[in-house]
Symmetry: D2
Subunit: 361 residues, 4 copies
C-alpha cells in the first residue's frame, strides 16, 4: 500500500535499491502524446548517481525501457510501464546492516512495520525508488508543456548555512544546470561545492533546501477542501526521502507578517486579473490563481556517514557500524529533478481533474 | 471532488459558511466505540467563534447532532453523520463582495475554477468548513486514546515575531487551555494577547505557528512510499485554511545541520529500542518509530482586514472594499483544535491501515 | 467503509432504517446546474413506502432537504448534502429480532462482521438506505439529460414466472408509471399485481427481474480494463439490497449463442457508425458504442415473511420468529427507481471521467 | 485510468497483446509470504495459449519474472512487480484491421474514446491483458490458502446449449483439470469438446458459462453498502473480456422463487451457526456468512471468426474482413483460471479490509 500517487494521472512505483529493477506504471496519461525513451532519459540522467564529483559514485546508467502504452510513437491511453534494470547492485556491501539498525534510516521502522526487512541498501526506502517518479514526471512535463505551456524548474537554494540569492520569476534552466550543485547563484554555488567537498572529506553529510517555481499554471487547478493544490504539493514533497519541511509562497516567514503587508492586491494587467505581490505563492483557497507557484522543500543531511557510528542491533545490544557503501554527502543536487518530478505529477493530476468542469456547464 | 480525506478512516465534509448547515460523514469508524454528542462538543467549543475576546464575535453555539452510526451508545461500523446548523448566518453582510474580489481570499480562484461563486462569507472556503473536521477528529481522538493511549496536543508556538518557549515532551493540556491564545508559555501568551489586541485595534491581522505533539504513537504507522506518515500529515495541515508551511522534527532548521549532529542514535531503554535525540520527529522512512511525533504548521495573517482595501471587480475595474463582517484578528488560537483534528485523522487512518498486517501473517 | 460510490461523481450515503435520518453527500456534482428539492422529490416519491396497495404501508413522506452545495438555485461545485428525516420509525416492532437472526437477512452477517448490530429493522442493511442513492441519482439524471440528452428508464420485466413483453428501444415512462407494479406490458402488469396480492395474502413474498435502458449515451464512456462500463454497472446493481444477478445485452442467453449470430454487424446510418443488432447491449470492450445500454437485474424474494419462521438465536438455540413489521411482498416496483439511480450514478461518473480526454490533446 | 483493482490488495496491470510485455504490480501483498515464480507459473500455464487442441495456437511460454517485492524467498510488503515478455507477437497479421472495425470487438470504441488505437491484435483489449490478473491471483491464492484455508475453484458449466451437472460443494480440481475443456462432468466435457471442434471447423465460435466456488471463506468479509462482496465480485467478473452476465447463489433463477422456498433457514451444526440451504450463495447483506460462495459468469462467443465478415472502416464505408490471426473458438477453458483469479483478488482484498476490525475493538 502507499505505492500509488495521484487520482487521474496515477503513478505506481516498484522496485528496490539492490533488487532486479526499479520502475513505474503511469495510468491516465492522456492519449496521442508523442513519447519515446528520449523524452524520459534526460531527467533520469539528472537524477542518476555518478553524474558528478559531488554525488555518489554508484555506477548506474539508469537506462529506461518503455514496456507498454506507446504505439507508433504516441501514447494510446493505456498504462505506460517503464523499467530500469539495476546493474551495479552490490548487496553484499550491506551484510553488516543485516542485523544492525543504521541511525536515522528506515531499517528499524520497516522491521517494526512489516516484520521483515530487505536490508540491501535500504531496499524500498532507498532514493533509488525515485527513478520511477522522475520517469513519470518526465511524461507529465512533456504533456503539461505542450498542452498548457507549463514550465517547472527547481534549484538548490540552500546548503547548510549557505543561502543563495535567486529570483524565482527569472531563473532559467541553463543557470541551474551550469554547476553540479544545481544552484543558479554561481558564487554561492562555488561555496556550496567547497562545503560539500569538505563535509565529504570529514565523512559527514549536510542538508539543504530546494526551491521550485511552476510558471504558466492556469488559474483553477486544485480542489477544495482536502485536495488543495498546496496540500497535494506538500504531500508530494514530504513523500521524498529525507524531506522534513514544505512551504509555499510566504511560508514560515508569512507567520511573522501582518495582513496589511501579506495580502496580495489585485490589479488588471494585460487584460488579465493579476496580483501585485505573490505572498500567496500562486494559490488562494487551494486553487491556482495564475501567478507563479513558488515553493520550498527542506532536506535533512544524508543519514549514511563515512565514519563509525554507535547503534544497536535487533536485540537491542550496542554495536558499532563501520562506514560502507557508496553515498551522497549531500542529496540536494540530485533532489532537484525529484522535486520537479513531484510538482509535475501534482500539476498533471490537477490539470486532468479540472477538465471535468466544462465551460459549457 | 476533494471533500473526502483518508483511506480507512474516511471523512467527508459538507456545508458553507452562511448556508443551512455544515457537517461531516465519518466512514470507517471502528465499531463498538462508546460515542455520544458529549464526546464531540468539547472540541467544537474550542473551535467555535465567540469563545473569547480575541476571536471573531460571530455568535454560533455550534451544537452538534449525531444523525447515524450510533446505536445504544456505541458505534456500529456504519457511517457516523454529524450536523451543525448555522444559526447566526448573515449573508447580507457580504453583499459588497458579490462583485469584488477580496485580496488573498478564495473569491477569485473559486470563480475561475467553477464559473460560479457562493459569495456569502467565503462559502465553502470559510474556516467554518473545519467544524466537520473537528467533529470527526474528536471521534478519532477517543478511539486512539482508548485503543492505543495516543494523545495529541497542539498549542500556539508563535504569533508574529513572538516565539514561545515550549518543551513538546512535557507540555500539558491545562497549560495550553489556561489562556485564550492557547500558548502554554504564559509570559509569552500575555504578550501575544496584547499584540493581537493592538493589531485588531489597527484593523490589521497577524499570522503565527502552531506546534503539535502526538505521544504514544506505536511504531509501524505510515506507508511507504507515497503515503508516508509525514506526507499525509503535511497534506492534512496544508489543507487547513491559511496554512502555508509544514515541518516535522528538525524541519527547515535540519537543512542547516550536518549528519553527525542530526542522526538520532539508537539505544535500548526500558527494554525498548529508542532514540537518544528526536530530530526525526518520530518518523523514519515515512513510518513512526515510537518516539513523539513533533510537527509545526505556519499560518499566514487572516486576509480579512477591518480597514478599506483596494481591489478589482469581476470585470477587472478598480474598486475599494469597505471593512465588513466579523473576523478573527489572528486565527491561531482557533487553529489549535483544527491542527489536532487533522493530526488525529491521519493517525486514525494509519492505525487502521497498519491493522491489515498481522503478526501471524 | 464501503459507503462511497464513484470516482468523480462521488456519492456517500448514511443513515439507518429506524435512526434519526438517512441522507447522502454528492461530491463532484458539476457546478452551475439548476437544482432544488423539486428536482429530487419526484424520484423519492417513486421509491417511497405507502405509494400503492402492493408495497409496504410504512408511512414516510420522505421529504428531502438540500443542506449545502446550492446557491441561488444553482450548484456551486461544493458537495451537495441531502437529508431525509425518519418520521415513522418504530424500533420497538423489532424487539424480537434483537436476539434472533431472521433467515436470509443481514442480521447474522453484520454481527459476525462488526461484533455489534443495530437490530432496528435491519439498520443500515435496510432498503431505506437507498433513499440517498435515489436522491443522488436524481441529480445525475438532471445533469445527464441537460448535458448529453441521456435518458434512463427501468421497468419490471418479470415477477416470479410472469415475464412481460417489452421492447427496450420503444418503451416510455408513461406506460411504466401507469400501473403500480411499473410493468409497461399492461396485461402482464395486471397478472403481476394479482400474483403479488395472492402472495401477500399467503404471508409469502416473490422475486423478479428489473430491466433498464439508457438512451443517447455517447460512445467513449467506460475505462479499460477494470472500470469497464459494464463492470461498474454490475457492481452498482449488485450493491442494491436483494439483487442476485446482472446481465447486459445478450447476457446469459448469449452464452448459448454462436459468434456468427452474436456479432453486431457495423453499418453507417445517418452519418454515424452504428450496429445492426445490439447483442452487445451498448458496450464493447468496456466502452459505450453509442447504442442503447440494455441491462437486467435479478432480485430474490423479500426475506421478511408474514408467517412464523424457524431460526436460531445468537447462542445457536432454535427459536421461532413471529411475523412483524411492515414489509413489501415484492420489492420489484420500488426497485425500479433504485435501478435507475444506480445506472445514472455510473453514467454520470463515467461522463466526467471521459472529460479528461480532450479532443485537442 | 481503470487499470487498478482493489483497495488494500491492489493490482495494476499493463501491457498490450503485441507490445513488448505484459505485467502487473501487486501493492498490499502481506509481508513474509514465501513466494517465487514457481507459485505463479502453474496458474499462467492454465491460462496460456497453445495448451491444448481446443484453444488458440499462439505460441507463448508466458514465463513470469518477479521483479521486486520478494527478498530471500519472502514478500517484504513492498510492491510485487511481475513481467511476462511477449515472444510470439505478430503485429503484421493485423494490418488489415488498421482501418476496419472488427464486429463486437473494441476497435471502434477504443478509437471513439481515445482518438487513437493500438490495432495490433486488440492491443490492451486483448485477453492477453489477463496474464497480470492471473499472476496476481496466484499470489492471492497462496496467501488465502495459508492464512484462512480458502480454496477457490472454477469450471466450465455450460458451452452453448450443453449444460454440465456439477455439485459445487464436492467438485475437485483433479476432475476439472482432467479434460482440456475444464468441465468436471466428463460425459458433458466430451460433448463440449466435440462441439468446439465442430464450431471451429465451421470458422465459428461459441459462448458458455463458468461456475466458481470459494470454500472456507470466513464470515464477515464484504463491506456494506456499495462494496458488498457480491458487488465487488460482479465488477471483477464483468471486467473480464467477453463476460456479459453474473449471478450469485440462486441468481436469475431466484427471481422466479417465493420467499418461503428461498429463505435459507439457520441451524446449528458442529457448534457453528450455518444455513440448511444456500440460495444466498454465501453472502447476506453483502457480507460472507461462512457458507460456500457459489457464482456464475456468462461469456459471449468469441468475436473473431475464421470466416469473412461484413463491416465498415473508419470512414463508414462498407468493407469485408478476411479471417486472420490465431484465436480461440471458445474462450471458456481459458476463462476458468481468469475467473478464479478475479474471485481470489476480491477475497484477498476483503480479507485485508476486514482485518481493520479487531475483536478487541
Amino acid at each position: 500500500m502507499g505505492n500509488t500517487f495521484g487520482q487521474l494521472f496515477r503513478v505506481t512505483t516498484f522496485g528496490e535499491s539492490h533488487g532486479r529493477a526499479v520502475g513505474v506504471v503511469v495510468d491516465g496519461c492522456p492519449p496521442r502524446l508523442p513519447l519515446s525513451e528520449r523524452d524520459i532519459q534526460p531527467d533520469l540522467d539528472r537524477r542518476r548517481p555518478g553524474q558528478s564529483a559531488i554525488v555518489t559514485p554508484r555506477d548506474e546508467a539508469d537506462t529506461v525501457e518503455i514496456l507498454s502504452g506507446v504505439f507508433e510513437g504516441r501514447t494510446t491511453g493505456a498504462p505506460v510501464a517503464m523499467l530500469v534494470r539495476n546493474t551495479d547492485a552490490r548487496p553484499s556491501a550491506y551484510a553488516e546492516i543485516r542485523t544492525k539498525f543504521r541511525p536515522s534510516h528506515a531499517d528499524f521502522t520497516y522491521l517494526q512495520k512489516f516484520g521483515i526487512r530487505d536490508w540491501r541498501g535500504g531496499g524500498r526506502a532507498s532514493a533509488r525508488e525515485t527513478i520511477g517518479r522522475v520517469a513519470a514526471g518526465a511524461i507529465a512535463r512533456k504533456w503539461l508543456r505542450r498542452t498548457f505551456g507549463v514550465e517547472v524548474l527547481a534549484w538548490v537554494r540552500q546548503v547548510h548555512a549557505l543561502v543563495a540569492k535567486v529570483d524565482p520569476s527569472r531563473v532559467g534552466v541553463r543557470q541551474i544546470e551550469a554547476t553540479p550543485v544545481r544552484c543558479p547563484d554561481h558564487p554561492a554555488a562555488r561555496r556550496m561545492i567547497r562545503l560539500i567537498e569538505r563535509v565529504r572529506a570529514a565523512g559527514d553529510t549536510v542538508g539543504g533546501v530546494v526551491e521550485c517555481v511552476a510558471r504558466s499554471v492556469p488559474s483553477g487547478w486544485g480542489e477544495p477542501v482536502f485536495d488543495k493544490l498546496e496540500a497535494d504539493l506538500a504531500k508530494a514533497l514530504l513523500s521524498l526521502p529525507a524531506c522534513k519541511g514544505f512551504e509555499i509562497g510566504s511560508g514560515f516567514a508569512g507567520a511573522a507578517m501582518k495582513g496589511v503587508e501579506h495580502n496580495d492586491r489585485f490589479l488588471c494587467r494585460g487584460g488579465r486579473i493579476r496580483t501585485r505581490t505573490n505572498f500567496s505563492g500562486g494559490v488562494q483557497g487551494g486553487i491556482s490563481n495564475g501567478e507563479d507557484l513558488v515553493l520550498r522543500a527542506a532536506f535533512k543531511p544524508v543519514a549514511t556517514l563515512m565514519r563509525p557510528q554507535r547503534t544497536v542491533d535487533a536485540r537491542g545490544r550496542f554495536a558499532t557500524l563501520a562506514p560502507k557503501g557508496r553515498h551522497d554527502p549531500c542529496v540536494l543536487p540530485r533532489a532537484v529533478p525529484m522535486v520537479e518530478a513531484m510538482v509535475l505529477l501534482v500539476l498533471a493530476d490537477h490539470a486532468l481533474r479540472q477538465r471535468r468542469i466544462s465551460r459549457a456547464s
